[in-house]
Symmetry: C2
Subunit: 197 residues, 2 copies
Amino acid sequence: MSRERIAAAAIAIADAEGFAAVSMRRIAEDLGVGTMSLYHYVKTKADLIGAMDDAFMAEVLVPSLPEGWRAALVAIATRTRDALMRHPWALYSMLSVAPGVNAMRHFEQCLEALAETALTSKEKLTLLATVDDFVFGYALREAATDKKIDFDFARSQLATGEYPRLAEVVRKGRVSVVSDRFQFGLRLILDRVAQSR
Amino acid sequence: MSRERIAAAAIAIADAEGFAAVSMRRIAEDLGVGTMSLYHYVKTKADLIGAMDDAFMAEVLVPSLPEGWRAALVAIATRTRDALMRHPWALYSMLSVAPGVNAMRHFEQCLEALAETALTSKEKLTLLATVDDFVFGYALREAATDKKIDFDFARSQLATGEYPRLAEVVRKGRVSVVSDRFQFGLRLILDRVAQSR
DNA sequence: TCGCAATTCGTACGCTGTACGATCAAGATA
DNA sequence: TATCTTGATCGTACAGCGTACGAATTGCGA
């Protein structure tokens, strides 16, 4: 038994049944131990979530960075996106968690990607923040759309005729967005940066 | 007593004490009614959150759109950002809520902003999605940073010397990002779009 | 074998959302 | 006026939550 094993069990539950399904009693049951035993390895549930987040951030780390700042940044962003698609609960956890070892390693890796550029520290941080904003926003909205949501109301609203432009968009060929809007957005941001270098 | 009044009370609590502080008992207490009375106006707590989200989206609507697609888009994005800064809990609620009237009005307004352009429907939707990704990501990460987070661990980690680039960035003039990285990121995205029009 | 420390965990408390049914006020009908 | 109906209020109860506390058990060094 260990902090890591407990975090792994919690992650398995969160992946399969959602963040809300993660409870101390449930984790203990899955591990076949008493509920309160967990508290010997974990201070509080918030602490456990910290451990989950750290394990998540480990998955975000890129094994080896490609050559060139742009390729490196795209690799990191894409890997972060993929990890978030596998573990959408990380969007919740990140709101309440202090940076752990792997979060710091990730940050270090981001700076390494930009090491070859002539950007100032401030410029680097700003660019990284902007890319991260986009990556997390993409994941957030993707997670929101994935949910089985009831669109009946939206459909009935549409029929009222109060949304002419929306109705038109829906009419001509289903609501569709470019297949990979993630790469699209990333390109938008990086193109502009590459241009002003 | 009404669904709206209940939602307003819930919003007041969420704004002042966080999303987690919103409970049916607490709302009822603030309104001076019995807990179960609320259920006459609201089907479940999830339904209440839907009402909160709709009220939030009303705040996102821009009273009147500025001339020009770019100014209009910036106005909408900025207003959305401001509303999210006032009500960070909306980031949670949007993950579990179906679009309401005001969400649809907002969408309609976004399309109106792009009406003058020659973009196809698909291009419009992609652009709007990209901007929204960025806006929500910005708010998410801003909300995460705002939290009183314990950085002691991060500092001790930094002292290990395992993060040379991070240490350097911290050394030369505190970790600082461009003052308004929101407008910066927005400009990055829209510049590139304006250019390829 | 003893003693101590590490580990396990049962019980209990105050919190949550909400199902169920009792209660009550007001308006409509006979 | 007496009765009936309908909408609104809400007290009680239940299952689940995080976790404080303290008792019980285990394993190990002396």
